[in-house]
């Protein structure tokens, strides 16, 4: 973005009239907020409070909701399915936030520092594009692709294992309750890993090359430079990626819906799918609203904590 250079200089009003004009000025900008505010109210704020309200009732979606106070929440905390769904969420955080971040750091540094510098930036950006590609797929389509690859009979993965003589390892990847969650995790790593790679590579471009040159002259190995220069320098990016991916993992719905529908036997159920089931399949709307409310609170707390931590990180660095 290149702002055009300006020659005219603003005339100076006296300080008092200028200050008064500024505050009038500011107030009149409020008009521009009105469409956005009305829409936000209608689509986010009102439904949000309605949802909390519904969570305090027993309601099938038709007729009048029946006030039950905190009953839904009491039931929720005694519900094994609910706790299991959050345990699965922890696994998905590992698959969507933790592993991609770790792998992304190594891949991004290797691409930027090794491939980019020794084989040319073109090679690095082609490889980056390949790794990023799954990110552009609609998550539902990624689910279809993998549902088909992981199919027990004739699925590409089992056929491949057979072809290389490992047929004994063939599994019902998504149909075995002990295995399904791990398969879903594998798919999500594939989906997610490109995102940190792209963000971290962009961050590395910001790092002052003099830092590396100095370290290299001091005889620091690649790993030491990676650990002591690259990672601390792109800490802001690491925070952002961890936060956004963790939130995405908590909200995961599409892959579960397409790959397993929460099954087999609830072994891949997650809160978002669990609330969806209660809303639209079991018509226990109050209960579904309670699940969604808990999920919302967790996400908001997490966002606040992360932003705090990032803020503190920034201020101690300065």
């Amino acid at each position: 973005m290149t702002p055009p250079v300006l020659s005219a200089r603003p005339g100076r009003a006296t300080r008092t009239t200028r200050a008064r004009r500024r505050s009038d000025d500011r107030a009149s900008y409020l008009w521009f907020l009105i469409p956005g505010a009305v829409l936000l109210l209608a689509v986010i704020v009102v439904p949000l409070f309605m949802n909390v309200g519904i969570s305090l009732t027993r309601w099938s979606g038709v007729g009048d909701p029946q006030w039950t106070g905190l009953d839904n929440y009491r039931r929720l905390f005694a519900d094994g399915t609910f706790w299991a769904s959050f345990r699965h969420n922890v696994n998905l955080i590992v698959a969507m936030a933790l592993l991609p971040t770790l792998a992304g750091l190594v891949i991004a540094a290797a691409l930027y520092d090794f491939v980019g510098k020794r084989f040319g930036p073109r090679a690095a950006s082609v490889l980056r594009a390949c790794i990023y590609l799954p990110q552009v797929l609609p998550i539902a389509v990624a689910g279809i692709v993998w549902g088909w690859i992981l199919a027990p009979d004739n699925g590409a993965l089992n056929e491949f294992l057979d072809a290389v003589g490992l047929g004994a390892l063939a599994q019902d990847w998504l149909g075995d309750p002990d295995l399904a969650l791990w398969s879903v995790m594998g798919v999500l790593v594939w989906v997610q890993v490109g995102y940190p790679v792209v963000i971290f590579m962009a961050g590395l471009q910001r790092v002052d090359p003099a830092l590396y040159e100095a370290a290299e002259l001091d005889g620091a190995s690649w790993w030491r430079r990676f650990w002591h220069i690259s990672i601390p320098q792109i800490r802001a990016e690491v925070y952002v990626v961890l936060l956004t991916c963790t939130i995405a993992a908590l909200k995961v719905f599409g892959p579960i819906y397409v790959l397993t529908r929460g099954g087999p036997g609830g072994s891949t159920n997650v809160p978002s799918y669990f609330s969806f089931q209660n809303f639209f399949e079991k018509t226990q709307v109050g209960y579904g609203a309670a699940i969604a409310t808990v999920l919302m609170v967790i996400i908001l707390v997490l966002t606040a904590v992360f932003l705090r931590a990032q803020d503190r990180g920034e201020s101690t660095r300065r």
């Binding site: 936000l40 986010i44 949000l48 609609p138 539902a140 978002s272 996400i299």
Partner: protein, 284 residues
């Protein structure tokens, strides 16, 4: 650059460099294999699939499977629906974002920090916490199962992010430009339309592309709100079919390929905007 480090770099281009390159190439290939397998099987005849299984490369280009699937789900209609919804959301959400960000970033209205926090929260909320009340309200308003209903919802969700991002971008807008326009007698609308929007056009273009692709890829709310065939988007139509487990393997891969193609097309068309934009969005 002095010759010494250059020579060292060249000497280092030994086997370890090639090992790193090789492992990254292997990784890239592994990432691409699912795409290749899907493409292979989408163009096989059912007999070929039955005899050769999913791994053998196709003998020729058999497009009947894809054409069959296209006609069966009226894929052209789904594409059109997706385009209409995503494009409307992209444009409307940018308009709303610009208006909000003009007041917050340039107007610096009182309490803007808190207003920004509200927008940020609106963007991070799980859609599950909004879905039932929206479903209820939209049914009352006659917006349920209409594209307009979905467009309104996503305009707000995307604009929440856009407001957050654009406000910080416009916060650094060159003040002299605004003052100059004001001295020339421009009112606030004219300043917005003739100065702010043209100067920020590159950022707005990134937002349009992002909103388009994000909305295209959305699944949960469209799944709930678009239940009839005539309104469904591509991901919803494909996801619902997959969920019903009624498809044979070649049809599955044909459907997956049809879902992949638009995504890759956008990726190629918008690649430069995207990679530039991702970094704009990441660290602010």
């Amino acid at each position: 650059m002095s010759p010494a480090p250059a020579r060292r770099a060249r000497r280092r281009l030994g086997w370890s460099s090639y090992a790193v390159l090789l492992s990254l190439v292997v990784l890239a290939v592994v990432m691409l294999i699912p795409f290749v397998v899907v493409a292979f099987n989408a163009v096989k005849t059912p007999e070929e699939y039955a005899t050769g299984g999913p791994l053998s490369p196709p003998q020729g280009l058999y497009l009947d499977g894809i054409i069959d699937f296209w006609q069966r789900v009226d894929f052209g209609e789904k594409l059109l629906n997706s385009v209409v919804i995503s494009a409307s959301v992209a444009v409307l959400a940018v308009v709303v974002s610009v208006l909000n960000a003009y007041a917050l970033g340039i107007g610096r209205v009182r309490g803007r920090l808190w207003i920004l926090v509200v927008f940020l929260i609106a963007n991070t909320l799980p859609q599950e916490a909004l879905v039932y009340p929206l479903y209820y309200l939209w049914t009352q308003l006659g917006l349920y199962d209409t594209q307009l209903g979905v467009i309104v919802i996503f305009t707000v969700i995307q604009a929440a992010f856009g407001t957050y991002l654009l406000s910080s971008v416009l916060g650094t807008f060159p003040r002299e430009l605004l003052e100059a326009a004001r001295i020339d007698g421009a009112n606030k609308w004219q300043v917005l339309l003739r100065v702010v929007v043209p100067v920020s056009r590159p950022t707005l273009a990134v937002l349009v592309v992002f909103f388009f692709i994000w909305t295209w890829n959305e699944f949960f709310l469209p799944l709930v709100f678009l239940i009839s065939n005539e309104t469904q988007t591509v991901p919803v139509a494909l996801g619902v079919l997959q969920g019903q487990r009624l498809m044979d393997p070649t049809m599955s891969s044909a459907s997956a390929l049809l879902g992949i193609i638009p995504a890759i097309a956008f990726f190629l068309i918008f690649q430069r905007t995207l990679t530039r934009g991702i970094t704009v969005g990441a660290v602010k």
